[in-house]
Amino acid sequence: MLESARQHDDGPSLPSLRWALLGNTTLDPMRAFLTQFSREIGYTADIWIGGYDTALQDASAPACAAADVVVIALRLHTLAPALVNRFARLGADDARAEAGRALEYAASVAAAVRQSSGALILVHAFETPPHPALGIIDGRTRHGQANTIRRLNLDLAERLSADANTFVIDLDNVRARLAGQRFDDPRTWHLGRVPYSRQAMRAIAGEYLRVVRAAKGRNRKCVVVDADGTLWGGIVGDDGPEGVRVGPAFPGSPYYDFQEALLALRDRGVLLALCSKNDPQAVADVFATRAADMPLKWTDFAAVRVNWSDKARNLREIAAELNIGLDSLVFVDDTAHETALVAELLPAVHTILLPEDPVDFRDALAACDLFDTLTFSDEDRRRSDMYAAEQQRKAEESASISVEDYLRGLNMEAAVARVDDGSVARVAQLTQKTNQFNLTTRRYTEHDIRRFAASPDHDVFTIRVRDRLGDSGLVGVAILRHDDAGSVLDTFLMSCRVLGRGVEDALLAACMQASVRRGMREVIGEFIPTAKNARVADFYPSRGFAADVCNRFRRSNVDPIAFPAHFKSVVVDGEQVIA
C-alpha cells in the first residue's frame, strides 16, 4: 500500500490532530503513516517536525505548545554513541555516566515540552542491540551493554511516569512483533539518517495511534465471542458437551488458552459477551459439565445471546443491554460467513475472523490492539463484576412492586466528593470514554482535570455509589465553572451502568448546592448533541431547567433541586445531607 501525504484527499469535515515530532533522526518519512492512521480514526493530521538533533531547543517551539501529540524520538546512536559503538572500551563508571546523560537529556526534553503543552507526550525508549557488545557474556552482569540500556529505559520510564499523559513507546517490543521482517534499514540510515524500514515506521506509527485512540475514547469496551469452534473445538449439537475439545491438554489446550486470554481482557475491564447460534441448553450444558476443563464460567459474560437469530440482531441487542454503542464491540467468530455478515450489516462493529488453527487464536485477538486505556484503576478490574451485579438488580427489578419501592430496597449510598489524586485517573478516563450519558462529551486528560481542580473558579465533583448488591465505584463526574453569569455545567456525565437509579439527580443536586453556597444566581446546563447522547437531550428540561439559546438551559438557585429521597445516605464533601 502506498500512503498518500497529499492534503486534498481529506474531507473538510474531519477535525485536525496536531502532531509535533522531535528527535535526532530524520523523522519526515513518518508523515505519510501518521497522516493515513490519523485519517483512519477520523482526524486530519497536521504534522510539525523539529530540526535534526535539536529536540531540546524544539521542545519550547509554539508547535509543541499547540500540539495534541508530541513525539520524542531519540536514538542513542546520536545521543550517546559511546554506548552503541564502542561499549567494550567504556569502564562501568563511564557507561553509567553516559547513560545518565542520555536519561537527563530525554527527561529534559519531555519536561520542557510539558512546560508549555498539555499534549500527550510519547517518548521512544532506547533500542537494545540485537548483537550486544560483549557477546555471550554481555547478559551476565548488570554492566553489560544490553542491561545498561535496559536499566536506562527503566530509569526513563520511572522519571516519565510522574506525568500522567506521558507514554513510553517500546521499540524493542515493536521489533519483536515484526518478527523476521526488517526493522532497521542501514541503507536509509547511511543515506539520510532514517533509521527504520517502512514496515517498522508503520508499526511505530501504529503504536502512537494506540495511545491516541485511547485518549480520544475510540477504543472498544466489549468482546463478543462465538461458542462452537471458538471457545471449544467441535460442535456441541453434534459432539455433545462431553465431546467438544477444550481442556488443559491437547487438543483442547489451544481453546483453553484462548479462554484465558479472554479472561485476561476481562481483568483489564473489557466486558465479555457470548453470541452463539445454538440451542441455549446445549451451550449451558458445556459450561456446567465441562467446568473443570474451562477457565471461563457462564457468569463471566456480561451479556449472553444463544439462539437462532442472526448475529447482527443479537449484537444490536447486546449493545443495547450493556448500554454501549456498536462501535464499542469487537466480534470474534471462526466462521467467515458470520464475520462477513456482521461487517456488512454493522460496519461499526470491529470483526475478527479467527485463523484456521486454534493455536493462533490468542495472537489474533491480542494483535487487534483495540482495548487500550490510558489508565488502569480498580474500577477497571471490577467492572465486569459490577455488570454482573447489575444483571441481578434487573432481575429483582422485574419482580418487585414499584420502581420507587425497588430503589428504596436497594439501600443506596452515594458520596459526592471533589476530585483528588486517587480519583483523577478515573475522572479523566470517564470523560474520555463516556458517550451516552454525557451532556457535553468534552474529552479531558488527567492534566486538564488537575488544572480544573486547582482553579478557584471550578469545582470538579465525583460521585460514588454502592448498594446492597455491590459497590459501583466512581460512576459520575460534574465540572462546574463559576463566572459572572452563574455556574456553568461544563461537564456532566454518568456511567451507563447506574442509570435509572437517581444517581444523576443526586449529583445535580450537589452541583446546585455548591452553586448556592458560592452565592451564584443560577445554574446553567449545556447540552452538546452527538451521534450517541440523544437519550440525555431532555435531561435539563426534565429537571426544571428553562431552555435558553445555543443548547443552554437555566435554573435559578432560588429553588434548588432536592436530593432524591430513595437514597439511604448521601454525603457531599464529607457532610451528610441524607441519613
Binding site: L2, P186, L191, R198, Q199
Partner: protein, 77 residues
C-alpha cells in the same frame, strides 16, 4: 512508461501525474529532494517487492534509472 512507477512518483513527489514523463529526474523536479528520494525508493521497494543496494539506491534519481533498475530485476511494466 511504467504506470505504477508514474503513480508512485506522483504520490511521493506530490506532483500531478500528467507532469511526469520518461525524462523526469531529480534535477528538474523541485520536490525531489533527499528526503523525498528516500521515501520514493522505499515506496518502490515495497510496491515491487524488490531491494536495492545502498549504492544503487543513491543513484535512482530519474525515471529512467528507476525503470532500468526494475528491468534488471525482470520488471518491465
Amino acid at each position: 512508461m511504467n504506470e505504477r512507477v508514474r503513480h508512485i512518483l506522483g504520490v511521493v513527489l506530490e506532483m500531478p501525474e500528467q507532469q511526469i514523463s520518461e525524462s523526469l529526474s531529480a534535477e528538474d523536479a523541485s520536490s525531489w529532494d533527499s528526503i523525498h528520494h528516500l521515501n520514493l525508493v522505499m515506496a518502490l521497494e515495497e510496491a515491487f517487492g524488490v531491494s536495492f543496494s545502498s549504492d544503487e539506491l543513491s543513484r535512482l534519481t530519474s525515471y529512467r534509472a528507476i525503470a532500468d533498475a526494475l528491468a534488471r530485476r525482470g520488471i518491465t511494466a
